[in-house]
């Protein structure tokens, strides 16, 4: 199997709130650090990818925000404009007048048009070899299949025309597992695990894209080593807490309660992790990155996450 970062196009998806954008940012940063010319593209226009690099908001035109790392945000209208300029060789915008307006309507009416302009632009960057790797902060789990399956859907709906001609090479790029892969980000919680298992199945059935990895974000550290949990239980007994409080010179009750919270959280999450592992094909690698007890989520924590991801990939 091709190494994750040796592919050319990696889509990163996940349920809302699991840290999809953080992971995409970290993956792009890791690739750039390892010497790859990397483009990270945010598909959701209202996303906050820029925050994870502590940089100004991204635009359709890629901007170098770190050494060897470019960032852009998808804009389907701009994508169409670029596409038309490249393919019809007419400076259309001036002449057609309300094309933006028209586009909005066609895109609303015709399912898959926005999706194909998104995927098309990304595949175009891959085909033209502008970058070694394109990392996509893609649509969330609910919409990713629609996005990835758009070329096929268009193929079925549109019989002729330029769009139809284009779907062929798009499909070639998307369905080649050495070129393209999908990563699903999950947290070890009930709903994200459910959605991940369900999505893994749908990706297999409804798209031609290879599921490259599942990235489990916010994994809590194991608090106690072997035999230590019994010691903790003993120390949590009322007379022990009292003795501890006396010895330390202050109430340790809340400290023990916080540790218990951590242990329970970890245990609840471990069960979900097991469910996730057994619910997805064994051949799909699972990468674990830790919960960051950080003051804020800026470039520093993106770097930490990139390091953790690198360690999981064996770098």
């Amino acid at each position: 199997m091709t190494d994750l970062l040796d592919r050319r196009l990696v889509f990163v998806t996940g349920k809302g709130g699991v840290g999809k954008s953080t992971v995409a940012a970290a993956m792009a940063l890791l690739a750039a650090h390892r010497g790859k010319r990397t483009l990270v593209c945010e598909v959701d226009a209202k996303g906050n990818l820029a925050d994870f690099f502590e940089t100004a908001p991204t635009a359709f035109r890629p901007r170098e925000i770190q050494p060897r790392l470019w960032a852009m945000s998808m804009n389907t209208e701009e994508s169409l404009r670029e596409y038309l300029n490249l393919n019809l060789r007419v400076p259309l915008m001036g002449r057609i007048g309300p094309l933006a307006h028209a586009f909005e309507f066609v895109a609303t009416a015709a399912p898959g048009v926005k999706e194909i302009l998104t995927v098309g632009k990304l595949c175009y960057e891959v085909r033209e070899r502008h970058y070694d790797l394109v990392v996509v902060d893609a649509a969330p789990t609910g919409h990713i299949v629609g996005q990835l399956a758009a070329p096929q859907a268009i193929n079925e709906l549109v019989q002729v025309g330029l769009v139809r001609q284009q779907t062929g090479w798009l499909l070639d790029i998307l369905s080649n597992p050495t070129t393209t892969g999908l990563c699903i980000v999950a947290t070890p919680e009930e709903m994200p695990v459910n959605e991940t298992i369900e999505l893994a199945g749908r990706v297999e059935r409804e798209t031609s894209v290879d599921l490259a990895a599942i990235i489990v974000n916010r994994v809590l550290p194991e608090l106690f080593g072997r035999g230590e949990e019994e010691v903790f239980e003993k120390l949590s007994e009322p007379d022990c807490v009292e003795a501890l409080s006396k010895a330390v010179g202050g109430d340790v009750g809340p400290i023990m309660a916080a540790a218990r919270l951590a242990v329970t959280m970890r245990r609840t999450r471990a069960a979900h992790l097991e469910r996730l592992r057994s619910g997805v094909e064994q051949s799909v690698p699972m990468l674990y990155v830790p919960y960051l007890f950080a003051r804020s989520h800026g470039l520093r924590s993106t770097r930490q996450l990139a390091d953790a991801l690198g360690a999981e990939l064996g770098y």
Partner: protein, 396 residues
Amino acid sequence: MPGPPTTAKGPRAGSLEQLLAAKEIAITCGSGGVGKTTAAAAAAAMVAVKQGGKVLVVTVDPARRLANALGLEGFGNAEKRVPPEAFAAAGVTPRGELWAAMLDTKEAWDRLVQRHSPDARTARRILDNPLYQNVSGRFVQSHEYIAMERLYEIHSEGDYDLIVVDTPPTRNALDFLEAPQRMADFFSSRFLRWLTVPYRSRLVNLASRPFYQVADRILGSQFLQDIAEFFILFQTMYAGFVERAEAVGRLLHDRRTTFVVVSTLEAAPLREAEFFIDALADKRFHMGAVVLNKVLPRYLLDEDTAAVAERMRARADEVAGEVANGAGDPEQIARVLREVADSFCNFEVVARREAEQRAELALTPEVIVTVPFFEVDIHDLAGLLRLGERMWASHG
């Protein structure tokens, strides 16, 4: 004088309980992963238990867990009553009834088409159109619109005292509020008529229009024609549709409808919540409450406790020696004490970050509810009610 938080004197002023007692519709919104669906179900269950009447929770979340938690095998577009046995198992006797329904977008759209079509034949043609099959599931804002449409339908049937609606986790929080208006605008648009002109009249030369030339080269004329046919058929439903969309809009603005924004204290969901609160005020919707969910315990913020944790870590060996009697190997105890202290400090960092976010939440709706982090998943009605009790008891 503010009364105690008991039901004897009626609900406490400024509480979620009081807010919901006075409304007929409560719409929860917020970004994904904040526990919106569970909060909506918990609030509905609490009203059914404490205030009585018929309460319905409408969800878009197909999670089996919620169905299971409510003691249902599953539920769909049709409302289902939560069996009294589920309440009995939770050890409570509700004063009212709790019902649940899930939103099936496709089914709801089909019903809408059947209602507004001029005749059965047109309805059939629309339902069979391949574009419709795609569009009904994926239309821009179709999910949001249909959620509001279904709400209107249920409300106007008048079966329920309170309807709690869980909205889709949409990034553009305004989508579903504007959906009725946009839907009306869309079908009354001049552009749509213009787009479909060449297919309605043979007098217009298609090739003479640059837009069609371009569109034709991009999409192919067959596809354009499919689109046009679809919209021509859809336009037959125009009058009924627009009227309905406007009625839905009015209901959302009515004082009987309130909005509950749910968020965690993480930066991104909170920013979205703030945006939402602003937008609701801006559009003159009734902003009822903010529920801050999954908040870490307050003791993590206590400075004295933090100092104790520091000492516990620094003097772990010494302390372990003092308490070792009977508890085990002093070295192992010291290690556990250090780990426990470290863990406290780790979570303290997160709790401080949350507290700062909370302080920055400048907007002050009438009701702010803080719900603690539940370390175990909610699997049954008892769990939902435990969460509900905390929502009811919260002072913000």
